[in-house]
């Protein structure tokens, strides 16, 4: 096993984010001679972080990276990661886990926007809150997340799991507006409340255990069902998109 400790150095009052797509377990198999970008400046890893490596590994599965310091300004950590583990002790910046296909990212604080965007596999756990576009697709794209699992213990912002095409997304708190918009597959579970779930959904399953506010009128009510000890109301749609998806809600309110 190899453990890589990266502690972001304090850098005065600047607020420019650091683009850190090089921080994935596989890259550390051949050392720590990596770079990150701050604006248009390329920094050596050791310029930006205090780096310590404990142990060794031959495969990415055996590498764990632990990020500490004011990591909220780090973007794209874990992008294209395929194995191993990244633990973030605090908050993480935007686009964490973009396109990841394997391994685990655990964030003990909050995550900024686009957490796990277009991910294809692996698992992301966020102990705090996640901002907008968590587990979503990207501008204009037809498919968002296609596989893997994202679990957020706090709340999430708007457009959660937009364009979801596969995999599982679980939110223990509330979600914002338009979760599961344009869903075409996969499973989305929101334990709390949200507004306008599953708009224009084509396929897949969306569960809202709390209350769906501003419920869209373009879903057909199929009656109540039992699901894991809960009674939920099942809808199908989005009829406006010839959708065959399933939307299950604890309660719902139409906008009047």
């Amino acid at each position: 096993m190899m453990r890589v400790n990266l502690t972001l150095k304090p850098m005065g009052s600047w607020s420019i984010p650091i683009e850190a797509e090089s921080i994935i377990p596989a890259n550390f198999l051949s050392g720590t001679d990596l770079t990150v970008w701050r604006g248009n400046r390329e920094l050596g890893l050791e310029e930006a972080f205090s780096v310590s490596v404990v142990g060794g590994a031959d495969r990415a599965e055996d590498v764990e990276i632990v990020l500490a310091g004011k990591t909220a300004r780090l973007k794209r950590v874990g992008e294209y990661m395929d194995a191993g583990k990244i633990t973030v002790l605090g908050d993480i910046g935007m686009h964490c886990g973009n396109f990841m296909t394997g391994g685990t990212i655990e964030i003990q604080g909050n995550a900024d926007g686009w957490l796990g965007r277009e991910m294809g596999g692996g698992s992301i756990i966020c102990r705090g809150n996640a901002a907008d576009y968590c587990a979503s697709g990207y501008r204009g794209g037809r498919k968002g997340m296609t596989g893997g699992r994202v679990e957020v213990y706090g709340r999430v912002g708007d457009f959660l799991a937009e364009n979801l095409a596969g995999g599982t997304v679980i939110v223990h708190g509330d979600a914002g507006d338009m979760p599961g918009a344009e869903m075409r597959g996969g499973t989305l579970i929101i334990h709390g409340d949200c507004t306008r779930p599953a708009a224009n959904m084509k396929d897949g399953a969306c569960y809202v255990y709390g209350t769906a506010r501003w419920m869209l009128p373009t879903f057909r009510n199929l009656g109540t069902v039992r699901h894991e000890g809960r009674t939920l109301i099942q809808f199908t749609g989005d009829v406006a998109n010839r959708g065959k998806g399933n939307l299950f809600v604890g309660n719902y309110e139409y906008l009047d």
């Binding site: 990207y138 501008r139 204009g140 794209g141 037809r142 998109n241 010839r242």
Partner: protein, 566 residues
């Protein structure tokens, strides 16, 4: 004075009657000349295929519709990204790239002149602004007259001279080059939620038929002595069985001009469909090509599709709505006041799809069955059939039966029973390709006298030098070498300067825009016609005085004045 001498070039220049001679090309101050001084800079083009710069006679690269394609498809911008390099700006986009992306990629393929296929007059400024940022090609714009209220009224009144006068005023005002009819009458009908099914269907309210529009506008076009003929996108695009409508439309063209065709029908692949529905969809390239073979007054372009992702965009609003209902993806629809409209949707053409496979075959068949390469030009209706960067693949397919067979083996297995392609042996030669990609375009657009599409002394020094040894390459077998060679010039020369070399653009460049001002007598000046002015004030959202595009909008404005019969 700047001088350049291209030595030992292996030249094919159909308009000058040159087919594979080794010769020197002398260039002074942007023009081809007889000879240059000993001080001239020298390029050694020994053994390299050298032709006039490529001309695209129907492409969508600039203007509101193209730009809407860009902003409704941000995902397209994630493809084809290149960083800033030397004088090259950063680019992005694949089927609807940034203007620089278009310009660099065309230049690297040896193209030096482009015709934007459809400019809505009201939105002409946008087109001209984007032309300015397409710096490595000279540009011109087909101007849309398919749903023009004043023209349809003049046609209803049987007044062809008035039709011509309106065209003259509008072309001068918007700095347009040619007359484009897109689904004539259909886009106007679409504003009433309808379409026209073929050329005998009257347009709602106006009561004129597409056939009357096509015929009257052809006559008007010739009264104005415009360089280009009427440029027609037939009614009923993309519908099974539409070939009869296409035959009817092409049959309307009289033979009025000894120097060029009187009707240019664009992206005919999309108009050569048999069958009564998608289930018995088939190719009708043969009757269309037969008609073209018998009518020298008609020139068509292929509108070839290639498999993969692209964006469709056209002024044919109702057709795009039908496509939207088929694909159920994102769609945009646009109305242009008293003039025209448009629609856009992204599409993916798939090999495993029977309809797409038949479409692929039809484009090739049209080119291979049309006997004279001057009558069927190479296009994809960029980006509708495929992005223009894939033209070299089409050249490969036209030159190699082996390549066609290899591709045919990968498409839908039922295609063979619906298309004549497998029985066609023809393989085009280098000369025919030169006609289909530059000389034919120059003649069809009527710009050879302006120094385009050939290399005779006096011509614009637009030259494409390809790293292909045509005496050594057998295109039938080595089609990959043909594709690679046409994808990247050794040198592209524009107005006497090397602008691209081995895939890199080496100068900022500065384009010219060609446009037409027909000279009409006072009586036919629509700017002073009370009825026309009143209609304008009443229905347009802009004032007539604000409508014309000022010449300052044009980079290196090149105005072509024509003597008319008005």
């Amino acid at each position: 004075m700047t001088e350049l001498l291209v030595k030992n070039a292996h030249v094919i220049d159909p308009l000058s009657g040159i087919n594979g001679e080794t010769m020197d090309i002398a260039i002074r101050d942007g023009k081809i000349v007889e000879e240059v001084s000993a001080a001239a800079e020298v390029i050694d083009a020994r053994g390299m295929l050298t032709m006039p710069g490529g001309i695209d006679s129907h492409t969508h690269i600039c203007g509101t519709k193209v730009n809407f394609g860009r902003y409704m498809s941000p995902e397209d911008m994630r493809a084809g990204r290149t960083p800033r390099r030397g004088p090259m700006h950063a680019t992005s986009g694949y089927s609807v790239p940034t203007t620089y992306g278009n310009s660099y990629r065309y230049s690297v393929m040896g193209y030096t002149t482009l015709l934007e296929g459809a400019m809505a007059p009201l939105e002409a400024r946008h087109t001209h602004e984007e032309f300015t940022y397409t710096p490595l090609q000279d540009t011109m714009a087909n101007t849309l007259f398919d749903g023009n209220w004043s023209i349809m009224e003049a046609i209803r009144d049987g007044d062809v001279k008035r039709v011509a006068a309106i065209i003259a005023w509008t072309l001068s005002a918007v700095k347009g080059f040619g007359v484009k009819l897109t689904n004539p009458g259909g886009t106007e009908a679409w504003q009433w939620g309808k379409n026209v099914s073929c050329i005998r269907d009257p347009v709602p309210y106006f009561g004129v038929t597409p056939a009357e529009i096509i015929r009257s506008v052809i006559e008007a076009n010739e009264l104005l002595h415009l360089p280009h003929s009427v440029h027609l996108h037939c009614n009923n695009l993309g519908t099974p069985g539409n070939y009869t409508c296409t035959l009817g439309s092409l049959g309307l063209a009289p033979d009025l001009n000894p120097r060029r065709q009187t009707l240019y029908a664009t992206h005919v692949q999309f108009h050569a469909y048999g069958g009564s529905g998608w289930k018995d969809f088939s190719s009708k390239s043969e009757p269309i090509a037969n008609l073209v073979n018998m009518r020298p007054q008609v020139v068509i372009d292929m509108g070839q599709i290639l498999f993969g992702r692209t964006t469709t965009m056209t002024a044919d609003g109702p057709m795009e709505f039908n496509l939207y209902r088929l694909h159920h993806e994102k769609w945009s629809n646009h109305d242009v006041e008293l003039e025209t409209g448009s629609g856009i949707i992204p599409v993916i053409y798939r090999r495993k799809n029977l309809v797409n496979s038949v479409m692929w075959a039809i484009g090739l068949e049209l080119a291979l069955l049309t006997k004279s390469p001057w009558q069927c030009l190479l296009t994809t209706d960029n980006p509708n059939g495929a992005p223009f960067v894939r033209y070299p693949e089409i050249i490969g397919l036209l030159m190699s039966r082996r390549y066609r067979d290899a591709e045919f083996a990968t498409i839908h297995p039922d295609t063979g029973s619906r298309v004549p392609l497998p029985a066609i042996d023809r393989e085009m030669d280098w000369y025919e390709i030169a006609v289909m990609t530059r000389a034919g375009q120059a003649r069809a657009l009527g710009i050879q006298d302006l120094g385009k599409g050939h290399l005779a002394p006096g011509a614009d020094a637009d030259v494409a030098i390809y790293p292909i040894r045509i005496d050594e390459v057998d295109p039938s077998a080595d089609y990959q070498k043909v594709i690679d060679g046409f994808s990247r010039t050794e040198y592209t020369i524009k107005r006497g300067r090397v602008v691209a070399r081995r895939g890199e653009c080496v100068v900022h460049g500065s384009n010219s825009t060609l446009w037409v001002r027909p000279k009409v007598s006072e009586n036919y000046d629509m700017g002073k016609d009370p009825e026309f002015v009143e209609k304008f004030d009443r229905y347009y959202t802009v004032r007539m005085s604000n409508y014309p595009v000022q010449e300052q909008y044009l980079n290196r404005s090149r105005c072509i004045e024509t003597e008319t019969e008005l």
